[in-house]
Symmetry: C2
Subunit: 201 residues, 2 copies
DNA sequence: CGTATATTGTAGTAATCGATAAAAAACTCA
DNA sequence: TGAGTTTTTTATCGATTACTACAATATACG
């Protein structure tokens, strides 16, 4: 169907490969040489297909949210807020420990700090983290409205707490923590769940 | 007292300046141009005094532990384990929100990921984070031995949980969280303290 | 003063960074 | 087949990276 010479690479596969490199080495630590090598795409083709390094990262980030990080919106569909929180932790740990991709969460490992030229990436990741927190907060607000959570609970604080633990788990994963260690932390983090803890792990 | 031409800069002041640059931009994001400019030291002098970029970072890290991050060993001197945990959070938040230096914790912002050439720095920071966690764990083990914490508590898990929240707070600080927001998270994190929560915040 | 020592300032190193120009190659359509 | 279109290939581009050689400078010591 296309007009000229056909591509030798699949755009989404190349994007997945780029995502892995950004994930493992961070935005600035991922050189275009490493990216092109992992993607199997030479440099002019990469620029023709994706624009530049920053745009490539942003597209990889979109793909990250759609595929490996899709556990988050799925977790929020759990019937109870408590179940949603449990699935958030489970999903985050499953992703962080998945041997098919690097440890931790791209929203954290991608770039917390960077040189001035990469600050837009820091901000984009920060905004994405804030969006994740906001999604959790809305889920908890709905739980309060439904009587699933006590009316006295501050959904914003609870959501920020849960998300903070998840970012902390990502840092722990970067340090080589094991799955069991992360699960123990998550179980302990749920001890502060509002309204008593019937099941202790 | 020295033999030849005297230095035009103070080594510790220059190290403090370098620490701020590493803290704000991360190890790889801190260029030697930015470092020399902030330190007020030209390049040959920097290399004569500190060796190279990696050694400079390691010395800045030592200084970080001695000065801004000294809240950690101090917090562990609190009379009770619960008090130690509270002071850990308070110290971490005070440091993260101090306008005199960048937000967050150098052990997290310095480098979670990096290009292959900077992996030794990632590992050094990871080891330092592990050492912090181990110090907290030992404090909690002592608390259990002293009857300050219930015998059934796993000090390693509790320490890892507290430290995980602290790393998460650092990520939140990188995203522009306010002091109040961090304090709310810390207060909530302490709700899971073993042995009941007399004071709820 | 003169010599030794150590730092400073200037200039520049090779290598790598992200990003491209230009031409050859592979397809569609007339 | 041949014109038109798009990608690949090859060879780079200037800028920036971490790093250093060399000579001038400023001190202490004899």
């Amino acid at each position: 169907m296309p007009r000229g010479r056909p591509r030798k690479f699949d755009v989404e596969e190349a994007l997945d490969a780029a995502l892995l490199v950004f994930w493992r080495h961070g935005y600035e630590g991922a050189s275009l040489a490493a990216l092109t090598k992992a993607m199997g795409v030479n440099m002019p083709s990469l620029y023709a297909a994706f624009g530049n390094k920053e745009l490539l990262f942003r597209k990889a980030l979109e793909r990250y949210l759609q595929r490996p990080a899709s556990y988050l919106p799925k977790a929020l569909e759990a019937p109870t807020a408590r179940g949603a929180a449990e699935q958030l932790f489970r999903g985050a740990i499953d992703m962080a420990m998945n041997p098919r991709h690097p440890d931790g969460c791209l929203l954290v490992q991608g770039a917390l700090t960077a040189s001035p030229s990469a600050e837009p990436i820091c901000k984009a990741l920060s905004l994405t983290r804030a969006a994740a927190e906001a999604a959790v907060r809305r889920r908890f607000e709905a739980a309060i409205a439904a009587g699933d959570l006590p009316a006295g609970v501050d959904a914003a604080i609870l959501a920020r707490y849960i998300i903070t633990v998840i970012w902390g788990l990502s840092v722990q994963a970067a340090g080589g923590a094991t799955r069991v260690q992360l699960e123990e932390v998550a179980a302990w983090a749920l001890r502060s769940w509002p309204g008593g803890n019937e099941r202790e792990l």
